[in-house]
Symmetry: C2
């Protein structure tokens, strides 16, 4: 069965349970999740029994190929077209997702008497099915294998931007459609900026190299970070690296269904704190990965999501010594019932 | 003077004119436009005289380097932090931009008594200043020159995806940070899908090749499309190509300050229509290009924006014969007082 059709059926089941007659979607990722068609300006109305798509004329053939089960309307003005459909169907309880809809767009729905509901698709997006896991795995494998290849090219005098470009090119050659976010390559003190912008800076001898990267395969993202010392590592680097490594390993080792996301964060954070670097771990421990590079669940001190099989998350503790160097180690991990699977193993 | 600081000053002038005490921004592109710092989770409150930034701790050093004129608050919860600041400053009329803020986020602002205003930054974003034009020019030149190089590699048996990958690699080698959207490479009947997804399909002899692509240089996008016949062009292709070419040239020739955007669309559309292909030109004639690949002004039958010097738009008429082939020709064009400048010339 087509996975998008399957997802639509699950959603329709939930609509029935919650006594909602219809829900509207308009972001490319939501529409893709439910149809396999990925474009903006495409609106989807899912009712308990049917699916209606509202598209510009130019998408007609393409959309039809991807999603045979939707009834298509070509719109001039999408909101007029949706409103007409709602009225024809005599629907009275229709909702929009307030976590993905812009306020201006929301006002149009509110004018149509739609109600706001937040994150309706989230539970479906968070737990990945077999086909999604396959894409995530492949995405992670491409990233990990590309890293192995690029590592050999890292030499004194090479620019951060050159490493990023070559790495991205290798990932595409291996089947990725694109990078999943702006590749971070940070040399020396640049590695102490968690969101450093990859620059023209050249690598010198005896410097830290931090690479945070990932790719997209069949729309699914991977995310990983590696840090190493180019040259003879200083004692401080070795010490800091060991702490981050221990925190990351410990964090990953606890992953299985039922564990709370903030518990994992706590485990990583405690190891860094008891070693005296707590204040230098300035971000959350991780995040969900899927159609988006950052999505739920969030792995941080404030969020207590109970992990479920199928969730795919990053574990990425770090220590950042401004002006000196930073260390971050990150892997993408699939949650299983009684264990987990690291997808970005090199 | 720093261009982001200059933009902030212009915005503050408008705030005074409109008697607005403060405005909040949170999308990376808006924040970048006003600070030079490009990240999510960064909130900016611009008052008539000051700028306040609300950022996670891990952005502190990086943000400070980029934007020295903002007063920085580190937040745990951004909305609590913003609310506190508003209260300290005793501001009573603060607005948020309903065209860029999600409904869930908007509700937080509404709770703080902020008012919705739509597209407040638009007029500034639409007309590009000298430094922005330089980036746009470079972005377009990289795209155009890369096309020249890739064209030589287009041969029977090559896959669409290979052309896309190599083209993107060349653009990055020439200084682009990334592609500005998913490169479309469409062979044969695929060219008849305006938003074809680049595939594994191999090029055969005597087929249409359509390439729609662009890159990003210092955050500014380029956008262009070229179509040609690989082999001996059919009479139908030659005929259709000539019509699209004429429409595109005529459309571009009319561009200068004061012209209405729908007039340009009409000129292109009429040439295609009088030649009998009106129904096969299934999209608008163009769009603005800048920090976003698609932004205002829109060049279509329904939008009558008066062009102003500094606007940068695409002109991209097309004819799509489903099952057979499509032709689209697109350039990015800078609007001048009495004329225009095509930035994507090869």
């Amino acid at each position: 069965m087509n996975i998008h059709y399957e997802r639509t059926n699950e959603l329709q089941k939930k609509l029935k349970e919650e006594k909602i007659e219809g829900i509207i979607f308009s972001t490319p990722k939501e529409v893709f999740f439910l149809t396999g068609f990925h474009q903006d300006r495409t609106f989807l109305l899912v009712t308990q029994k049917e699916v209606f798509a509202f598209i510009p004329k130019m998408f007609f053939e393409h959309f039809s190929e991807k999603c045979s089960w939707a009834k298509i309307s070509i719109y001039e003005n999408p909101y007029d077209c949706i409103s007409q459909k709602i009225s024809n169907l005599k629907l009275t309880k229709v909702v929009f997702d307030s976590s993905t809809v812009l306020y201006d767009e929301a006002k149009k729905y509110i004018d149509m008497k739609f109600e706001a509901i937040s994150g309706f698709l989230k539970e479906f997006r968070m737990t990945k099915k077999k086909e999604e896991l396959e894409n995530l795995k492949k995405s992670c494998q491409i990233a990990a294998q590309s890293y192995k290849l690029i590592k050999n090219k890292i030499k004194k005098g090479i620019k951060e931007i050159e490493i990023a470009r070559e790495l991205e090119y290798i990932m595409k050659k291996m089947g990725a459609s694109e990078r999943s976010f702006e590749t971070i390559v940070a040399f020396g003190p640049n590695s102490a900026l968690p969101h450093h912008e990859t620059s023209e800076r050249k690598l010198k001898n005896n410097e830290v190299v931090l690479i945070d990267f990932g790719c997209i395969y069949k729309r699914y993202c991977s995310d990983m970070t590696r840090t190493f010392f180019y040259g003879k590592p200083t004692d401080e680097f070795k010490k800091v690296y060991k702490i981050v490594e221990e925190a990351q390993k410990k964090g990953i080792s606890t992953i299985k269904e039922g564990v709370l996301s903030n518990e994992i964060d706590k485990i990583c954070r405690e190891i860094i704190s008891i070693n005296g670097y707590g204040q230098y771990f300035t971000h959350g421990t991780g995040h969900g990965v899927g159609l988006e590079i950052h999505e739920e669940p969030w792995i941080n001190p404030k969020t207590s999501t109970k992990l479920k099989e199928g969730m795919t998350i990053t574990i990425e503790p770090g220590i950042y010594l401004y002006g000196k160097f930073g260390v971050r180690i990150e892997d993408t991990v699939y949650v299983r019932k009684n264990s987990h699977e690291v997808l970005t193993l090199i």
